[in-house]
């Protein structure tokens, strides 16, 4: 079991580092999120793996998992969320200021080629002519 968990951490770290080193902001945010997962799980396992023994005091309990790493990781998860949120908004800000999403502010780096458009799936869907946002208008307008 320990080997399995160590492998999981390793795979997440590899993926996280690789994505963190990419040039566009979105993969970087994904990469850092993955790294945060890896770090959280790593910290959590420092209390060793225990199955079915939550750290809730109970006279009938046979033993307890280590509560200290759990408490640390709990806040770490929330902080990681705060960091991810901040990062992604920073990415948006950079996009707004620089006009692109390259981490160095380049429109197209020397080692990149423009993304090829995938084939359009169903031309029939083009009939809709309006654009909307995810959550911009209030619902009054939709009411019949």
């Amino acid at each position: 079991m320990e080997l399995l968990i160590a492998l999981v951490i390793g795979v997440m770290t590899t993926a996280g580092v690789y994505l963190t080193l990419r040039a566009r902001t979105f993969p970087v945010v994904l990469g850092l999120t993955l790294l945060a997962y890896a770090v959280n799980v790593f910290l959590f396992t420092m209390g060793r793996l225990t199955i079915g023994q939550p750290a809730v005091i109970d006279a009938a309990a046979a033993g307890y998992g280590d509560p200290l790493p759990q408490a640390l990781v709990l806040t770490a998860i929330v902080i990681a969320f705060g960091m991810t949120a901040f990062l992604i908004v920073l990415a948006l800000k950079a996009r707004g200021e620089l006009g692109n999403d390259h981490v160095d502010g380049l429109h197209l780096a020397p080692d990149e080629v423009p993304y090829e458009k995938p084939e359009q799936i169903k031309p029939s869907q083009q009939t809709q002519v309006t654009e909307t946002t995810m959550n911009s208008q209030s619902n009054q307008e939709v009411k019949p």
């Binding site: 080193l21 994904l30 023994q53 949120a85 780096a109």
Partner: protein, 946 residues
């Protein structure tokens, strides 16, 4: 408590409060800030007054509070004769300058800013002179550098002002660093940073092997601040400041701070050959260079600047003599210089103000237009030249006497009286030039303004100072003698030697030198035009500023070269360096350990369900990388990873973590989805094989390292420190859920820090998105338009029904948190999800109308409650954030535990809700803002509705 127990810190800190007040007062009315500043200064004087008699009684008042005892830093203030003299100079001359500046500043200048800076500077100066603790003194010393930077660059639109300010900051800031070093060594060898101990340990310090480094470092601080050679060149450039600033900084304060430090450390450091050569040498050179250069400056303020440098050199030279009498003479000259130089600067300001020019080649014959000012200028300039019956004469006589006395010390010292007489000749000449060029010599030509007398209150401060010059010069025994005596006693930390302040000492060598200087000085003035020509040929190009700029530019270029060597201006590059370095560091760690990689702890067996989940997670991770160019898809796989991790937490006995991970996962994905909308939908394809390969190798090595490290740890046994928490959770914290008790009780202060971070992240996101507009695509990557149905009715109906249920769950999770999995973090996330779902399904406008609470307030209240519970426990005498609990029995519910930690948990809850909702809603608003110009969907729908 008597006022004498705490008045000194008030004197020093009051101006800082005054700075804020003056800045605020300028909103009411321009003049209000001047009055505020004056009132604060008078108030500071009033606070100083009750303790003024103590130095006269030979007592030193020390007021001290422990601050950081571990590093020897006390919050300690001291009032002895020296401190009193300087405090009075700072406050009284400061008051006069405040009155003067109110008339000097034009309508275009911001009064509030001026007086705020002025007050900050005054407070920093008072802090220096009143400090008992040396580290605290250095702190105030740095504050004077900073606030003088603000003052010198007051006219920010002027390039010379910005340059002058930067130069002053660079020089005095570097000196301050050296001073800090000197003070740290000094305090270390004395064993105390308190002046009382340091001053008493003079013999020990002088005998110590580190004496010379200490002396050099402290003198670097002194010389840079007091514009001593070779650091004198910043002072003339600081003349770009408004004249009241120059009058204050270069008469009684800023440059006198260095001199003050010489006087302060006089008992501890003086009396050695090193002291004599370094201090005396720098003083003599500065004295001569300043006097000589002043004559050749055509700008009134330039002349005064070099004259200031020269007089500072004179004072430094006196301290350099190292005798007690010389120190008394130095103190006397400090007082005299402050009075006549402040008045001369103010006169220069008046002339500039009323004629529009400070160029002595243009100015002339102003006697006719401003006789009152002219008389003031003449008296002050005569005092500067050392004319009998004025204060400058008395201290100059004492100075000559010391020079003559020192001449007998060694074979070459006979040069000393000669050199100082030459410098004195030049100071007579430039003083004469200041008067004769400006006020006499025929009608002025092409002045920008017709000259006339200034407003009355611009002259009154000068009047007062000139009266002091006269009074001290004519009846020294009845005016300056008492304060000089206590200042001398404070400087020498003992009984001052016998000295005579009388005007007539008989016909002796010093008097001869004075007369010689006066006669030859007049002579030099009359051949000045020839000297100007010679000077222009020889020395015009000789400028220390050139050296300064060369050093500065070379340092910057060198730093830039090193930085550029590592940082190519690319984040990708920097990230490779960082991660690559940590991989190497990790590898070295593995290599250097001789222990076997894995321990012998028995592993748990693998069960099929976990295996499937783990494999799913790994596949999802790999897919995230493979599909990262298709952003939406990679987000889905990321969600899978998060969910499997939550399941893992369930499996491995961490229900709290599972709940947290689950709710965070939802919020994160929603957030990334919202953001994704504004990022380019396409990731360009990478073709750089080298970069991909290199990154893959680094990533793989990191992964292998992480795996090995985890295995190395997990295969070993360990002795956890968690036993304490498990044992004390119920008796100490009153809760059975140990994780929650740790969070809100045992490690409460960590949690407080973490919610502060979260709050800052939320506020930072809000600030960044404020007013931002981004291009929003109207089609997806396949060219399809978005769905028109923003808020599907089924989803609306369902989420509205769900809201109370979700909030109920949040409350339930919150309340049970102390005893069963749950708590503020998780409840906060659930409540946040409940609210966000409303925004998502019903739109911001609809939800905003119904939920009017501003999330800023929620965050604020959360932090307030969190900190408040800590402070309450402090107030009743326990350490910060100590919790207490009791059990009460409620009807129906039964026995229920109430812990103060619950209040803290409410704080956590509020911050989590506030920060999360604030970020997401602000992001949602962005889409409204970005769509505002082309809302073609709305008319279409309205038509439909009809």
């Amino acid at each position: 408590m008597s006022l004498l127990a705490f008045n000194l810190p008030i004197v020093a800190l009051l101006p800082f409060a005054g700075a804020a007040l003056a800045a605020w007062a300028s909103k009411i009315n321009r003049v209000a800030s001047a009055w505020t500043a004056a009132a604060i200064t008078i108030l500071a004087l009033a606070f100083l007054a009750p303790s003024m008699h103590l130095p006269f009684q030979g007592e030193t008042l020390v007021q001290s509070w422990a601050w950081m005892p571990a590093i020897g830093l006390d919050f300690a203030f001291r009032l002895d004769g020296l401190a009193l003299l300087f405090a009075l100079l700072i406050l009284v001359i400061g008051l006069l300058i405040i009155i003067y500046a109110r008339y000097y500043l034009s309508n275009k200048d911001s009064m509030g800013r001026f007086y705020a800076y002025m007050m900050m500077f005054m407070g920093s100066m008072l802090g220096i002179v009143l400090s008992e603790n040396l580290i605290q003194l250095v702190v105030f010393w740095e504050l004077t550098s900073l606030s003088s930077f603000l003052l010198i660059s007051y006219w920010q639109h002027r390039k010379d002002a910005r340059h002058g300010a930067r130069m002053a900051l660079a020089i005095t800031g570097a000196g301050g660093l050296a001073l800090l070093g000197g003070v740290l060594i000094l305090g270390n060898i004395v064993g105390s940073y308190n002046l009382t101990d340091v001053l008493a340990a003079g013999d020990m310090i002088r005998a110590h092997e580190l004496y010379v480094p200490i002396l050099v470092l402290i003198l670097l601080g002194v010389f840079t601040k007091s514009a001593q050679f070779p650091f004198h060149f910043w002072l003339p450039h600081a003349m770009a400041a408004p004249t009241p600033v120059s009058a204050y900084l270069h008469s009684a304060t800023m440059v006198k701070a260095g001199i003050f430090l010489l006087a302060r450390f006089f008992p501890a450091l003086s009396g050695t050959p090193e002291w004599m050569w370094l201090v005396g040498g720098a003083g003599l050179i500065t004295f001569m260079i300043g006097a000589y250069t002043a004559l050749f400056k055509h700008d009134l303020k330039g002349l005064l600047a070099y004259s200031t440098i020269s007089h500072l050199g004179l004072i430094t030279l006196l301290f350099g003599f190292g005798t007690q009498l010389a120190a008394v003479a130095a103190l006397f000259h400090i007082i005299n210089h402050a009075t006549f130089k402040a008045s001369l600067f103010m006169v220069a300001g008046i002339i500039d103000h009323e004629t529009g020019s400070r160029d002595m080649r243009k100015l002339s014959g102003l006697m006719k237009y401003m006789p009152h000012t002219a008389i003031l200028a003449m008296v002050a300039a005569a005092a500067m030249a050392g004319v009998p019956l004025l204060n400058g004469f008395l201290s100059k006589e004492m100075f000559f006497e010391q020079a003559v006395f020192a001449a007998e010390t060694n074979a070459w010292a006979w040069l000393l009286p000669v050199l100082v007489t030459i410098a004195a000749i030049f100071s007579v000449a430039y003083s004469l030039r200041f008067i004769h060029d400006v006020f006499f010599g025929g009608e002025p030509k092409d002045l920008p303004k017709t000259p006339h007398e200034p407003p009355r209150f611009m002259k009154i401060p000068v009047d007062l100072l000139v009266v002091i010059c006269l009074a001290v010069g004519i009846i020294p025994m009845f005016t300056v003698a008492p304060i000089l005596a206590v200042a001398a006693a404070g400087t020498l930390q003992g009984v001052p030697p016998e000295y005579s302040l009388s005007i007539w000492h008989g016909f002796n060598l010093p008097l001869m030198m004075s007369i010689l200087a006066l006669i030859l000085g007049v002579g030099v003035y009359f051949i000045r035009h020839k000297l100007f020509a010679i000077h222009a040929k020889l020395f015009e190009r000789l400028d220390a500023r050139v050296v300064y700029h060369a050093i500065l530019n070379n340092t910057l270029a060198f730093a830039l070269k090193i930085t550029r060597g590592f940082d190519k201006g690319s984040l990708q590059n920097a990230a490779v360096w960082i991660i690559g370095a940590s991989v190497i560091a990790g590898a070295i760690g593995f290599m250097s350990s001789s222990a076997s990689l894995f321990g012998s702890r028995e592993m748990l067996p693998v069960d099929p369900v976990t295996l499937v989940a783990a494999v799913a997670l790994m596949i999802a991770t790999v897919m995230t990388v493979v599909w990262h160019a298709q952003r939406l898809v990679s987000l889905i796989t990321l969600g899978v990873i998060g969910l499997v991790i939550a399941l893992g937490f369930v499996k491995f006995s961490a229900p709290d973590l599972a709940l947290t991970q689950l709710s965070v996962e939802i919020v994160t994905i929603v957030l990334l989805l919202l953001a994704l909308y504004f990022l380019p939908q396409k990731t360009p394809k990478e073709i750089g094989r080298f970069r991909i390969g290199r990154d893959a190798v680094i990533a793989l090595l990191s992964g292998i390292g992480a795996t090995l490290l985890t295995l190395a740890v997990l295969t070993r046994d360990f002795a956890p420190i968690s036993e304490y928490f498990l044992e004390n959770s119920v008796p100490g914290g009153g809760g059975t859920n140990v994780v929650n008790v740790i969070l809100v009780d045992f490690r409460g202060i960590d949690t407080l820090g973490e919610i502060v971070v979260l709050a800052l992240a939320g506020l930072g996101i809000y600030a960044m998105l404020q007013g931002m507009k981004l291009p929003a695509p109207n089609k997806d990557i396949y060219g399809r338009f978005w769905d028109t149905d923003n808020h599907p009715v089924i989803m609306q109906t369902l989420t509205r029904l769900l809201l109370p249920l979700m909030l109920l769950v949040a409350v339930f999770i919150f309340l049970r948190g102390h005893n069963l999995p749950g708590g503020g973090f998780i409840a906060g996330l659930i409540a946040a999800v409940a609210i966000i779902v409303q925004y998502l399904s019903n739109g911001i406008a609809w939800t905003g109308e119904r939920l009017k609470t501003d999330m800023h307030w929620v965050i604020g209240f959360g932090l307030l409650i969190g900190t408040g519970t800590g402070i309450v426990s402090m107030m009743i005498g326990f350490p910060f954030l100590t919790s207490s609990f009791t059990y009460i029995t409620w009807p129906v519910v039964g026995k229920f535990e109430v812990a103060s930690a619950i209040a803290f948990d409410i704080g956590v809850f509020l911050v989590v809700v506030g920060a999360t909702v604030l970020s997401l809603v602000q992001l949602g608003r962005l889409s409204n803002a970005s769509h505002a110009p082309h809302q073609n969907s709305i008319p279409a729908k309205k038509q439909e509705a009809k």
